[in-house]
Amino acid sequence: MPAPGNKIAPPAVVSQMRTFAKPGLRLVPATDDSAATAGAREKHLAGPENRDDFQRTFLPYLDAAYNLARWVLKNEADAQDVVQEAYLRALRFAGTFRGGDPRAWLLTIVRNTAYTWLSRNRSADPPVPFEDEQHPHEALPVDIELIRRADSRALRTAMEGLPTEFREIVVLRDLEGLSYKEIAEVAGLPIGTVMSRLARARSRLKQALHKLSYAGGRP
């Protein structure tokens, strides 16, 4: 069966999101969704229609979910397992989703699931002193042409060489285009930390591409 297209959720989906709100919660007064439908909502939550809503809302972000998991885990097969587990968790916690950005909400769960998986299945990576650069002021001047010519293998090696805490920020910002604010939400970090990690991550990536290109014998 061919995978459906990866589209951004249409505006209609936004109104459907209310159906995830839990019964009994004080909802923000809504003109089109009054308390009279609370009973219907409750039934809705347990029924299969809810699952359709859930899929319509969150499946469009499968690619983003997969990319985040893949780069956190550095492994495609593990990423698939983690993404599946994350979607099941998301379905279980769909009641706590009350509007807002479904992508950020889903990615928060994917990220947590991935980190849980890492701590359970792999011995911790050798600690990388990611907060202090070894030679922060000795960064080599990087050849811009060299970055432009970097091939996918070099990029992958450079990315995988980053500490996970840095790599995930690059993935969310540069591969998936989340705003700083959304990244802060997903990673549970202050925006200032997102910014500094992103800057350091990019600087490291450039340095790594530089080194790789010389190590590979190319000019």
Binding site: D63, A65, I147, L155
Partner: protein, 249 residues
Amino acid sequence: MTCEDARQLLDAHVDRELDVVTDLEVTRHLSECARCAREVESLRALKKALGEGERAPEGLRQRIVNALGSSGAADREPVTRATWLPRYNAIAIPAALAAVLALVLMPRLFRVDQGEFLLREVVAAHVRSTQADHLTDVASSDRHTVKPWFEGKIDFSPPVSDFQGKTFKLVGGRVDYLDDRPVAALVYQHGPHVINVFVWPSDRSERGPSLVSRSGYNIDHFSYAGMNYWIVSDVGVDEMQKLAALLRS
């Protein structure tokens, strides 16, 4: 704008995350500073080289759709059919049992979820308040200034103490939004640490403190004298407990 200042903002400039005024200042600096201009060019090259994320592999989508479809207990088809029962009973009885189980279990699950969700909301509100200069809307260490400020902004009057002579110093207050309602946020300082105390009327009976931590923050929650209190901070557990005791005294 100095070169040092501008250099801190180059990534945000490339990401179009700066406000208009700051962005203009950075742009002006770039026209004067070859080194920063070069840095911006290399950042753009890097972003372009990284490209976009990959598509998820074929099959993962279907795998997830299948998994989602079979994860529910309430509407799952029974897997085996008992031969000694009429066919419809084989479906109806487990379905009824599942429904009863769901009715019993779901409110519990929801309660847990709701607590966890509120916890995350409280932490997020704390984090937001420490960013971008939005810690207080009324800045004062005097409770006689802070308390009246809330009047007309929220539909209750929060108890405000300035703990004269204690290590906790009242810094000010602001209105925040939690648990689907406007709440009072009282801001205290303990050494270099900022402490947010969120207060709103409680419809529950009194509840003792329950201390947890999330994302590196300690959060204490209790109900006292008809009010919900949520304390969030990066101070240690001991200080949290001291402040909770002071608020309850």
